[in-house]
């Protein structure tokens, strides 16, 4: 499963746009991706289908599976994530990843955790 953590550019060697280009640059769009808030405060990126994420300690609400309509939209939101991360000084702010399939979930459940996650869709 592909996953990258976006944050403030001075603290990362690679900028957010370069990161998503390396990881998701060959994807077809629209595509479904998971955005997870790694910060201890709420994160709102309404430019991407109303993406609104609770703080990281709220494990059921700190992620959302969002349909990213285009590569352009993904680049723009990555630039915004980078900007807000800079404002807050977060080296790691938002994790962008593929959505784990059910078998992964079952495996995780079986191995070590009983934690359940509620997937939610970004508002449109």
């Amino acid at each position: 499963m592909r996953s990258i953590k976006l944050g403030a550019p001075p603290l990362n060697e690679v900028g957010a746009v370069d990161q998503i280009n390396e990881t998701f640059g060959k994807d077809d769009f629209p595509t479904l991706l998971r955005f997870t808030n790694l910060a201890a405060h709420r994160a709102n990126f309404s430019e991407l289908n109303g993406l609104d994420l609770e703080p990281c300690f709220n494990e059921d609400e700190n992620f959302a599976d969002v349909e990213v309509p285009s590569w352009d939209a993904l680049v723009r939101v990555a630039a915004s994530i980078e900007q807000v991360a800079s404002n807050y000084g977060h080296a790691e702010f938002i994790e962008v990843s593929d959505i784990p399939d059910e078998s992964d979930d079952e495996l995780d459940d079986a191995i070590k955790t009983t934690r359940t996650t509620r997937k939610k869709r970004g508002r449109t």
């Binding site: 746009v17 709102n44 430019e47 609104d52 723009r76 630039a79 915004s80 980078e82 900007q83 807050y88």
Partner: protein, 616 residues
């Protein structure tokens, strides 16, 4: 001798009259506070530097609007069109593009020199022999016209670098008892090319207006008579049109570099064009005349001028909308150093933090007010999260210039492009401010002490539906976050949707810096004073100080008379509304003046406490 004086008297006896000295100049009234700057996506508009649009040319310069449901980036267009219809005199636009944006050339070629000899067998054209070594300036696909006994032959040419290499006969026709003649009736072609070709061409047009939907090119040459016959003409009339066939520009000039007009000035077409506009560039190729047999030459059988008309030429590639932070930085930089003046900055309803952050930098660097929208579909808590992400508390020198609006309203699109949807109101607020600023008094001061909020400035959109009604606690939360709600309010005269508050984003509670009206006036005075400062630079120190003192006195007296300043209750002000000091710098007294001014602005009524007491 017709005059009694000379301008330069030497040792001789006489009278010298010196040139008129003009001390009558007063600061001009500009309209910068009726204009706003914006970086935005549009389907038309130059990309190399900012350009101005007004109510009359907004559609031709920015193109037609596209729907917000297709892309949220299209909201900015609605903002600009609405603002220009509601008081903003003009908008200074920097078009957002990525590094992939590219402008191509519309290259016009005129084939000449090739000859065509049809080969006939059994009444059918079976082939065409190319002579004249294929000529130059041809384009693959141009059709041959056959004239002779038969009918129905169809053939097109194949070229390499403009030279005809072969002819493809797609239909041999019938009835050709003798070989027909074959010519290319229309040897003119237009193609879109990324660079100016190295092969012969007539001219290449580069349109810096960058229309996503393309342009059209029409041109013609008038008849030129020599020895009683028509000859090739180097003077042409060129029209650049949009795809609706509306003429954007018309130029008449020569393709010859040495051409002169009747007054001895250059008539070379590129010179003519550059004198009229910087949005069109023309490069003349090796072919510099229009042939007398060309379809763009002279007149047709009924006496109407012959024009060559191109099809739609898409000469600009937008290159997508994947804007990176660097793209926003570049756009803000161009707006900062634009030759055009404006007092406000709008984010055009953008929800991009990267764009808003660069707009904030622009506001700080230029001391201009930035008005932004928080998406209306957010709850108050989410709206607060949105504004907190901008870290305005950490930008104390910028925050008072930033004014945020949250309108939980679905309205009909004032431009009609979209249906009922959330459309930001910050740019409309700027427009109302611009309309107010146009109403200057005799001293040149606009009523900027009146905030654009409350009952006096109702939202004038149609079909408004409020989708969220915040509680008192949420309104308090919004005010603490310095967010101005735009919503339904009841007044003695009726019920209106209004800008409910007029707070800046300054992280202060009791300072007048929190009031938009104060920032409006203080930035205006700063702007006027710094402009005057530029005027007296390089004058002798004493003179510069005297003029500065006189200017400040006049300016502040005018501000007091216009209710921009009121008596201060600060003891150090001695009851005055203003105080200033103009003095040479203690360490650099020969080249540096220190100017300090203290001003007391009036406030804005935001809260009223009424108490009724029952008495016996």
């Amino acid at each position: 001798m017709s005059v009694s004086f000379t301008r330069a008297l030497g040792a001789e006896s006489g009278v010298q009259l010196n040139p008129l000295r003009d001390n009558s100049e007063i600061p001009s009234q500009d309209i910068s506070d009726q204009a706003f700057g914006i970086m935005m996506r549009s389907t038309r508009g130059r990309i190399d530097k900012p350009f101005k649009v007004n109510r009359g040319n907004v559609l031709s310069k920015l193109g037609n609007g596209e729907q917000i449901r297709v892309s949220a980036l299209n909201e900015a267009w609605v903002h600009v069109v609405e603002a220009l219809s509601n008081g903003a005199y003009e908008a200074v636009v920097q078009r957002l593009v990525t590094s992939a944006a590219a402008i191509s050339y519309a290259v016009v070629t005129q084939g000449s020199g090739a000859t065509f000899t049809p080969v006939v067998a059994g009444g059918v054209v079976t082939g065409v022999t190319v002579g004249g070594a294929g000529g130059t300036g041809y384009v693959t696909g141009q059709s041959l016209t056959f004239t002779g006994a038969g009918t129905g032959a169809v053939a097109t040419i194949v070229t390499t670098d403009g030279v005809v290499t072969s002819v493809t006969v797609t239909s041999g026709g019938t009835g050709y008892t003798t070989a027909p003649t074959a010519v290319i009736a229309n040897p003119i072609a237009v193609s879109v090319q990324s660079a100016i070709p190295v092969t012969p061409f007539l001219f290449a047009v580069k349109h810096l207006g960058c229309f996503n939907d393309g342009i059209r090119i029409d041109f013609r040459a008038d008849e030129k008579r020599l020895g009683g016959v028509n000859v090739a003409n180097d003077f042409i009339t060129l029209r650049v049109k949009d795809i609706a066939d509306t003429t954007l520009y018309e130029f008449t000039g020569s393709l010859s570099t040495t051409a002169l007009d009747d007054y001895g000035k250059s008539a070379y077409l590129p010179d003519i064009i550059s004198a009229q506009t910087d949005l069109v560039e023309l490069t003349v190729g090796a072919t510099t005349t229009i042939s007398e047999t060309s379809p763009a030459y002279g007149y047709n059988a009924v006496g109407l001028p012959n024009w060559f008309k191109s099809g739609n030429l898409v000469c600009f590639t937008e290159g997508g909308t994947a804007y990176t932070t660097q793209d926003y930085i570049d756009a803000a930089h161009k707006l900062q150093f634009s030759e055009y003046n404006y007092s406000y900055i709008s984010t055009g309803g953008s929800q991009s933090f990267a764009l808003i952050a660069q707009s904030m930098s622009l506001a700080f660097n230029t001391n201009r007010q930035l008005r932004l929208d928080i998406p209306g579909n957010l709850t108050p808590a989410a709206a607060v999260t949105f504004i907190e992400a901008l870290n305005l508390a950490g930008n104390r020198d910028t925050a008072h210039l930033v004014h945020a609006y949250w309108a939980p309203l679905k309205t009909l699109d004032p431009t009609g492009v979209n249906g009922k949807t959330y459309i930001g109101v910050a740019t409309l607020n700027i427009a109302f401010s611009c309309a107010r600023n146009a109403q200057t008094n005799a001293k040149g001061f606009a009523p900027k002490n009146y905030a654009v909020a409350g009952r006096q400035y109702p939202l004038n959109r149609q079909g408004v539906i409020q989708t969220y009604t915040p509680s008192d606690q949420e309104l308090n939360q919004l005010a603490r976050a310095k967010i101005n709600p735009v919503m339904f309010e009841a007044y003695s005269s009726g019920q209106l949707y209004v800008f409910r508050d007029s707070l800046t984003s300054a992280p202060v509670d009791s300072s007048s810096k929190k009031l938009i009206s104060v920032v409006e006036m203080s930035t205006s005075l700063d702007d006027a004073i710094t402009r005057f400062g530029k005027d007296v630079l390089q004058l002798p120190m004493d003179l510069a100080m005297k003029r500065t003192e006189a200017y400040l006195k006049s300016l502040f007296e005018g501000a007091v008379a216009s209710d921009w300043l009121i008596p201060s209750n600060d003891l150090s002000m001695g009851g005055k509304a203003y105080k200033y000091v103009v003095q040479p710098n203690a360490i650099h007294p020969d080249d540096r003046i220190d100017v300090s001014y203290w001003l007391r602005y009036p406030g804005t009524t935001r809260q009223i406490y009424f108490t009724q007491t029952l008495s016996r």
